[in-house]
């Protein structure tokens, strides 16, 4: 149907990546690192052995889940920047749930822990959705503020009520919760690595989100509300209700990502568990064109970037904060490219300019020859 459109936007994303890579190369150059060597480490280092590949997938699981939620919210016209806080809430709730009933059978314990995480994330996201729908509070500001609040709640709980009693008696005082009962773990997929069932869960979630957004009435209404609130209201769609629904879902996915991190990777709540997945998820969602089919590969790509950045920190002494710079540059380039694509005037002008430029270049070339 729209093969050309897909190819076209693919080309644009490629161009955006190149521009972003060039801009970041400038920064790398200015701090005295070799851009080529750094990029080579980032892109090939993580894939050099099986363990590296599985680690990339481990990182891509939370990115995928978070980005799916963000895609739902962006498509519904509400910008959820609060995934970072929603992840932390999910971590807290799923840990608490798993620790509360250590003797339950696995068939109950594991789903209960994951559901608790998703629910807590949904509540945290829903607050921002409700504030937007009922009180017109700008959702970007409120979700950013909820991130800072969640971070404080998280540290308070980890250092106080949820602190592992062993840490108080014998440990180093590291703020972390008790270890989860083993029945609450997500199974490992490949023995000897950290890759876990969460990957399957995330892929199924991607399929479900696609079906929700493009194959159900609910999804159609949500996308309509996002595409044009005024028109949607004329068509009888209660836009405000769908804003709340979208934020509940977005928060739920982020909370689930937190729960999966706990039960699949760390097996306890630790400080810094989300390590920026909430922000990286925004970039993953945008980079995947807010579509599950794009988000899955884009999450793997950013998994490579995150691991690669850790590697360059060790080998090439490029600080890992570099990833944030890259993410920021990519966001700025993508949104610029998107509005360029939406604007036929600008495209026409660009191609006219480009045509003049190339024809004058051709003329200049001929002049040299003759």
């Amino acid at each position: 149907m729209n093969r050309n459109k897909v190819l076209y936007s693919g080309a644009i994303i490629l161009a955006v990546t190149l521009i972003a890579a060039l801009l970041v190369a400038l920064v790398l150059f200015s701090i005295g690192a070799s851009p080529l060597a750094t990029y080579k480490t980032i892109l090939t280092g993580p894939l050099s052995d099986l363990f590296g590949v599985t680690e990339v997938l481990v990182r891509s699981v939370p990115l995928m889940l978070v980005a799916l939620g963000i895609a739902i919210s962006f498509r519904s016209g509400i910008l959820n920047i609060g995934a970072e806080g929603q992840i932390q809430m999910g971590v807290i709730a799923s840990t608490a749930m798993a620790l509360a009933m250590p003797h339950a059978p696995k068939a109950i314990l594991l789903p209960a822990a994951l559901m608790a995480g998703a629910l807590a994330g949904a509540v945290w996201g829903g607050i921002a959705g409700w504030l937007k729908a009922k009180l017109q509070v700008n959702e970007i500001l409120s979700t950013v503020m909820l991130n800072y609040i969640a971070a404080q709640v998280y540290t308070f709980l980890l250092r106080g009520p949820m602190l592992d009693p062993n840490e108080l008696e014998t440990g180093s005082g590291t703020p972390q919760s008790m270890r989860l009962p083993e029945l609450a773990f997500l199974d490992t997929l490949v023995p000897g690595t950290r890759i876990h069932m969460g990957l399957i869960l995330a892929l199924v979630a991607a399929l479900l989100v696609w079906m929700l957004l493009w194959k159900t009435t609910l999804g159609y209404r949500m996308r309509t509300a996002g595409a044009g609130a005024k028109a949607a209201r004329y068509a009888g769609i209660p836009v405000e209700r769908y804003l709340i629904v979208a934020m509940l879902m977005a928060g739920g996915f982020a909370g689930l990502a937190g729960a999966v991190e706990v039960s699949g990777v760390h097996h306890r709540a630790i400080e810094g568990i989300s390590s920026g997945y909430g922000f990286a998820g925004i970039v993953v969602a945008l980079f995947g064109a807010l579509h599950p089919g794009g988000i899955v590969p884009s999450a793997v790509f950013f998994g490579i970037l995150l691991i690669g950045a850790d590697m360059t920190q060790r080998s090439a002494s490029v600080p890992a904060n570099m990833v944030l710079v890259l993410q920021g540059v990519i966001i700025l380039s993508i949104v610029s490219a998107q509005s360029f694509l939406r604007n036929p005037y600008a495209q026409e002008r660009f191609f006219r300019w480009f045509g003049r430029f190339s024809s004058s270049a051709r003329k200049a070339g001929k002049g040299v020859q003759s």
Partner: protein
């Protein structure tokens, strides 16, 4: 301790706390008045804070050391204006969605400041920072003297910028153009005002002021730099613009309210009233949400074309 002394202590702390918020919010006000919603303010503050720290830090043992602070402030202003131009390029020229673009700029500034800091400095190091200048005569006034007239030069500058910004916005041709461009860009365009040019100028000015706010944080308040020095103050500043109903005086009130809350919380710990530290840190962020929820009627007073890119080629 007497109640009077308590209030005095709280207010003495509140004025310096308010400066960074005040500077950033006054700058953001120019952006929003021109119709551009700049959420990258926080990232600009990070870069301003880094350069405000870095320049005097690297000039420490050179003959330029005496001018270190001044040059640092200059660098922060310059980087702020430059990032304002970047944001203008993305949102005004390319007409990108301002909300997400702002988050992109925030990540860029935050990440870049952290990267450069780790590469050039590494650990925690202090700078001498700016000393307080007691204004002769005025600082001897009981009560008011300590609260208002015993601060560093940037604090006085920020307080003087409140009337200056008011004058610029309401009493000069440029201010009228800024307000016109944010309220009805098509009408402004018809009257021969270059909408894009004015928005670029407003974003540069706003960016420079956010950079200055960052430099204040590192040079005067903390006298050091770290990744989480800014801690979302840029976002609070954006909220303060709503709270202050897009007027410099309202913004001053909002900034003071926030800093009084902050210094009250600090003072409570000094007085020995115990409550978890994390809840104290949380307070300003909760306050922002409450303030935004209460200020919803104020939206009607704001620039009507806030957040909408202007395209003079679009017919309708």
């Amino acid at each position: 301790m007497s109640a009077g002394l308590m209030i005095y202590n709280v207010l003495c702390l509140a004025v310096p706390f308010s400066v960074a918020l005040l500077l950033a919010a006054l700058g953001e006000n120019f952006n929003q008045r021109a119709g551009v919603f700049n959420l990258g303010c926080d990232g600009i503050m990070c870069m301003g804070a880094f350069l405000g720290f870095m320049v005097p830090f690297s000039l420490k043992a050179t003959p330029w050391a005496a001018y270190g602070n001044l040059l640092g402030i200059g660098a922060a202003l310059a980087v702020g204006a430059a990032m304002g131009v970047v944001f203008a390029l993305v949102t005004v020229t390319f007409r990108a969605s301002q909300g997400i673009a702002g988050i992109g700029l925030q990540m860029l500034g935050w990440g870049l400041a952290g990267t450069l800091f780790r590469h050039f400095v590494g650990g925690v190091t202090g700078v001498e920072g700016m000393a307080a200048i007691a204004i002769p005569g005025l600082s001897k006034i009981p009560f008011l003297g300590g609260v208002l007239f015993n601060h560093n030069a940037l604090t006085y500058t920020a307080l003087l910028l409140v009337p200056a910004c008011w004058f610029l916005l309401y009493k000069t041709p440029w201010g009228l153009k800024v307000r016109a461009v944010g309220t009805h860009p098509r009408a402004a365009d018809t009257m021969g005002i270059h909408v894009d040019r004015i928005r670029y100028q407003a974003l540069m000015l706003g960016g420079a002021m956010a950079g200055l706010a960052g430099a204040y944080l590192s040079l005067c308040q903390a006298k050091m730099f770290s990744d989480d020095l800014v801690a979302g103050r840029g976002f609070i500043a954006v909220a303060l613009v709503y709270f202050g109903r897009w007027s410099p005086l309202g913004i001053l009130g909002g900034a003071l309210l926030f800093s009084i809350a902050q210094s009250f919380q600090l003072s409570m710990q000094v007085w020995g009233i115990k409550f978890p530290y994390e809840f104290a840190v949380m307070l300003p962020y909760v306050l922002v949400i409450v303030v935004l929820a209460l200020a919803r009627k104020a939206r009607q007073l704001g620039p009507t074309d806030l957040g909408k890119p202007y395209n003079r080629e679009m017919r309708f």
